[in-house]
């Protein structure tokens, strides 16, 4: 289950997530009332899904979930537990801003059943953080990590972003090295994507910032992969590295394996048995629907066999566990040996796995594997 928390203290220029900085977004959509609104969708989900199995993973994302009081996050998790049940070794993650946690709030979360925390660190370099509009003080990061460990979080992840305009190779190396020093169990590293409609995209369009060239971004990926590997963090999805299998984000792996999930919150996407849908985007509209006892669903699509096939190739090719060759059509199978001879994939038994350079060309590989 995914729970979206659409609040942030500051809107980052590059971010295209559904998030808001205002305290008051209208009836039911205030920070104070958000947990109750979300809980009513959890109840709606329970009423919709008969005989749903206990939940294996819960992920609180945003926005910045830790903008809400920890008690609220715990209460929402409690509603999931009460309505669906949780498996014994459930993974419960929350994203967090290093500046929005305290030893107390972290202890509350841990005691309330959260098992995993993911800090949005992005960079160790002030001018890069400034370009990204990130407001946290990089000096607070080690402290937040220490508090989380002290609170008993065994699984701790940090998010990094590379390819920010103005970021040098040395800047990126510093960020990677500092992240490694935090001794996280897991690191996600994403190349910055200029999303249409963001303030950042407008700056790029006006020429105020210049995106780095793709070759440099590729070099940054390779550098990160090298340093992470040397530090004992292995890639398991092309933008995610983990200390061991237990440290992988099981929640995300379920996305990539096309499992069923329900997304709670405005704009959240769900996928249940070949049906995909998404909620109304604005928190006020979302709250109104639920207050009126209606579904917050905005639109959706049915994933037919052909689409499911494309999605499976698109998602599983990105995994270190790779893609089973028998998932491919006969036509696509014939291009596998060509991909291998070009050094883009390795064949491991009956699966294909991207090589390091193949990971950088994953979309091209997928295009060749999809009929």
């Amino acid at each position: 289950m995914y729970v979206h928390v659409p609040f942030c203290s500051v809107r980052c220029g590059y971010c295209d997530f559904n998030t808001y900085t205002a305290d008051e977004l209208g009836e039911g959509a205030t920070r104070a009332s958000y947990a109750d609104t979300a809980i009513s969708e959890i109840e709606l989900a329970a009423g919709t899904l008969d005989d749903a199995p206990p939940v294996e993973t819960v992920f609180f994302g945003g926005g910045t979930p830790t903008q809400l009081p920890s008690d609220d996050l715990v209460r929402m998790l409690g509603a999931i537990r009460g309505n669906f049940g949780l498996v014994e070794d459930v993974e419960v993650t929350t994203e967090a801003n290093p500046d929005s946690v305290t030893p107390e709030s972290l202890a509350t979360l841990r005691d309330g059943g959260f098992t995993r925390i993911s800090f949005g660190v992005q960079s160790a370099v002030p001018h890069v953080l400034a370009t990204l509009d990130r407001t946290h003080n990089p000096a607070n990061v080690p402290q937040a990590v220490r508090w989380a460990r002290e609170a008993g979080f065994e699984q701790l992840s940090v998010d990094l972003i590379y390819g920010t305009p103005g970021e040098s190779m040395a800047d990126w190396r510093a960020s990677v090295e500092q992240a490694i020093e935090l001794e996280p169990d897991h690191i996600s590293a994403y190349a910055l994507i200029v999303e249409q409609g963001t303030a950042f995209a407008r700056k790029v369009k006006r020429g105020e910032v210049v995106m780095p060239d793709d070759d440099e971004t590729a070099d940054k990926y390779l550098l990160a992969d090298e340093l992470f590997s040397a530090a004992g963090l292995q890639w398991y999805e092309l933008s995610n590295w983990a200390r061991d299998e237990a440290a992988q984000c099981r929640h995300n792996v379920l996305y990539w394996e096309s499992a069923n999930w329900w997304g709670v919150g405005p704009g959240a996407h769900s996928h249940i048995d070949g049906e995909r849908w998404w909620n109304v985007k604005h928190p006020a509209a979302y709250a109104q629907r639920l207050t009126a006892g209606e579904s917050p669903r905005h639109d959706g699509e049915t994933i037919d066999t052909a689409t499911a096939h494309v999605e499976r190739i698109m998602l599983e090719t990105r995994l270190r566990s790779g893609l089973a060759l028998d998932a491919l059509s006969v036509g696509a199978r014939s291009s596998v040996s060509d991909l291998a001879s070009r050094g883009l994939v390795d064949l491991a038994g009956d699966r294909l796995v991207l090589t390091r350079s193949g990971r950088l060309l994953a979309d091209a590989v997928v295009r060749e594997l999809v009929d």
Binding site: Y2, A189, Y190, A191, I193, D214, D215, T217, A218, Y221, L238, S239, N252, Y255, W256, W261, G263, G267, A268, H269, H271, R276, W278, E301, T307, V310, E311, M314, L315, R318, R342, L344, S357, R359, L360, L361, A362, D363, A364, V366, R367, V370
Partner: protein, 632 residues
């Protein structure tokens, strides 16, 4: 569908029931006939003037008026130009002079307005005794108009000079009247001033046509001779042939003979256009009308040919017949190889109403199966390509157009090269390229820049004449290959749009030409080969290689680009392998979006042509060749 049928064709034409008892076709006294055309530049208002005359003579009432009535094809309408000529018969009652009140028959013959169709223009002029020289009072005479004017003077036509658009605030009738008088002689005050838009001066012009233009002469008792000045394919009726009768009479009962080929056809119908087809029993001396014989291809009824009767026909054709000679060739290939049969059928259909279109199948290592197509010129190429894409729903790749070269080998063999990739290897003695005489009209301010442009295109100055104090006519001999691609654009951009251009092929010249090949990953791509002058070959190769580097997207492997003359590489570039093609982030909410992006990327890939392993965008085949100095 090739061409919209004239209204009326589908039901068969009817005999005229015009109430004013105008003289009927076939029995019109030549003395009351006036055959004329309008010589004008695009945009100078020819079609508007024609519309106004149709209205004024009552041939079309205002309600039926489609703007630019005479231009039928969509493309013509969109581009505001006339490709094919038409003839309209207009009864006109004289309103001034001694003969006021007398009914005359005016035949207005519309002419194409572009340099590619000079031959067709000359045939239309041949069908007339007079011409209206129509000039925009805000712009003055343009090069093509001047060229057509000279054709008209050569054909002994009486010229009525007219300034149009005198209602425009920017009109300078005094200045341009003086300019016209300077060119054709006479007094600037004799230049009639009209506004086709408001109708001002149009009646005066109609009266002037009767007064100034002589009636046609001919021998009514001689065997019939009629000049074909246009030939149009109609979906319902087959080929409709437009003729001007010089001698004798063409009757709807006749069997007719085409004098160039001796082919005999049954006559199914004769008539006049007014502006709908009106059946007649005959067409007599001096009359202009149409005939339908049931032939299905316009090449069986060719512009410039003489029509006579099969029995007791004429022995001497009217002069001036030429079969159209393609001047420009280009390869057209379907983007999707499966469309080859569709392209073949489409070309067959287009040829039904385009006698100048020639083609033959060819295959290219890079582009697969397609056709080498010969055109009268670049506009003709563009029109054909556009019609193929629009009317037959084809996606086409066009190679860069080239002219025809003649290569003399040392062993005495003579080889005609219509495709640069077929340029012979071995011992070449001489290479000949076609040349044109180009005429540029421009304000005097741009003389320097125009001369510089012409020199850079290997031009040789023939001479320069001042049309007025601030307008000049510059004549150059230029290799046709040098002006084919972007010369006109370069001329326009260097003269802020003021210069106009006309050219006519004048023969060939021996030149030091070489074939430049392009190699991608070491393999020659035949579709990029070009024939250029040796002195320009190095610069051409460098510029082409760098252009291709920009146009061809990065691939998963390095793509070396080389330009070479024979085995000698003259330029090289390298497209570095793409290293990153991945979106980093892919979580629950991203999946649909990412899948849609994937589908879009795959669509984009379909618009690429695989050349060996290299994906080349379709624009590269033509855009790469615009390496001239147009933008510098």
């Amino acid at each position: 569908m090739a061409r919209a049928p004239l209204r009326g064709w589908d039901n068969g034409a009817t005999m005229s029931t015009r109430p004013d008892a105008a003289p009927q076709p076939g029995s019109t006294d030549p003395q009351i006939l006036r055959n004329f055309c309008i010589i004008a530049h695009i945009d100078h208002g020819k079609s508007t003037l024609a519309d106004r005359m149709l209205q004024h003579t009552g041939v079309v009432d205002g309600r039926d008026m489609k703007a630019q009535y005479l231009d039928r094809m969509d493309i013509e309408r969109e581009r505001g130009i006339t490709i094919k000529s038409q003839a309209v018969r207009m009864p006109f009652t004289k309103s001034s002079g001694d003969d006021a009140g007398k009914v005359y028959i005016l035949n207005m013959i519309d002419t194409p307005g572009h340099v590619d169709f000079t031959y067709e223009v000359s045939r239309s002029l041949e069908a007339c005794e007079g011409a209206i020289l129509l000039v925009d009072a805000a712009q003055g005479i343009e090069a093509q108009t001047l060229a057509n004017l000279y054709l008209a003077i050569d054909a002994d036509l009486d010229i009525i000079p007219v300034l149009n658009k005198i209602d425009l605030p920017g009109a300078q009738p005094e200045k341009y009247a003086a300019e016209i008088a300077g060119i054709i002689g006479g007094n600037p005050d004799d230049v009639l001033r009209v506004s086709a838009k408001t109708g001002q001066g149009v009646e005066e012009l109609l009266n002037l046509i009767v007064d100034e233009i002589p009636p046609p002469k001919g021998d009514p008792d001689a065997p019939p001779r009629a000049l074909i000045f246009d030939s149009v394919y109609d979906t319902y009726r087959g080929v409709v042939t437009y003729v001007r009768v010089f001698d004798g009479k063409l009757s709807h009962r006749d069997k007719i003979k085409m004098m160039s080929t001796g082919a005999v056809h049954e006559m199914l119908e004769v008539g006049v256009i007014s502006p709908e087809p009106v059946k007649a029993s005959d067409l007599g001396v001096g009359e202009v009308g149409y005939l339908i014989t049931g032939v299905k291809e316009v090449r069986q009824s060719r512009v410039g040919d003489t029509v006579t009767s099969n029995i007791r026909g004429a022995t001497e054709p009217l002069g001036g017949y030429k079969s159209p000679v393609p001047m420009v060739f280009a390869g057209l290939y379907p983007l999707d190889g499966d469309d080859y049969p569709t392209l073949r059928d489409a070309l067959e259909k287009l040829q039904l109403n385009d006698a100048a279109l020639v083609y033959e199948p060819e295959s290219s290592g890079a582009l697969g199966f397609g056709f080498r197509i010969g055109f009268l010129g670049l506009l003709h190429l563009e029109i054909v390509r556009e019609r193929l894409e629009r009317e037959f729903n084809l996606e086409l790749i066009s190679t860069a157009p080239n002219v025809v070269y003649r290569v003399e080998m040392e062993d005495g063999k003579d080889i005609t090269v219509t495709n640069p990739s077929e340029y012979p290897e071995g011992k070449i003695d001489k290479v000949y390229e076609p040349v044109v005489r180009a005429t540029v009209l421009s304000p005097t301010d741009y003389i320097g820049t125009i001369m510089e442009l012409c020199q850079s295109r290997r031009g040789q100055l023939i001479g320069m004449d001042y049309l007025s104090e601030d307008r000049v006519e510059i004549k150059y001999t230029l290799p046709m290959g040098e002006i084919m691609f972007d010369f006109f654009d370069a001329l326009k951009s260097r003269t802020k749009g003021y210069a106009s251009l006309d050219y006519e092929p004048t023969g060939e010249q021996a030149s030091d030409l070489v074939k430049v090949d392009v190699l991608l990953q070491g393999e020659v791509v035949d579709a990029f080969s070009a024939i250029v002058h040796r002195d320009n070959s190095y610069a051409y190769g460098v510029s082409l290689a760098s252009k291709l580097k920009e146009l061809i997207p990065r691939q998963q492997f390095e793509v070396p680009i080389q330009a070479a003359i024979g085995a000698r590489v003259i330029a090289r570039e390298n497209i570095r392998a793409i290293r990153k093609d991945v979106l980093a982030k892919c979580y629950g909410g991203d999946i649909s979006r990412k899948r849609k992006l994937l589908e879009k990327q795959k669509e984009g890939k379909k618009r690429m042509k695989m050349v060996g392993r290299v994906e080349v965008p379709q624009e590269a085949f033509i855009a790469a060749l615009s390496t001239g100095d147009a933008d510098k």
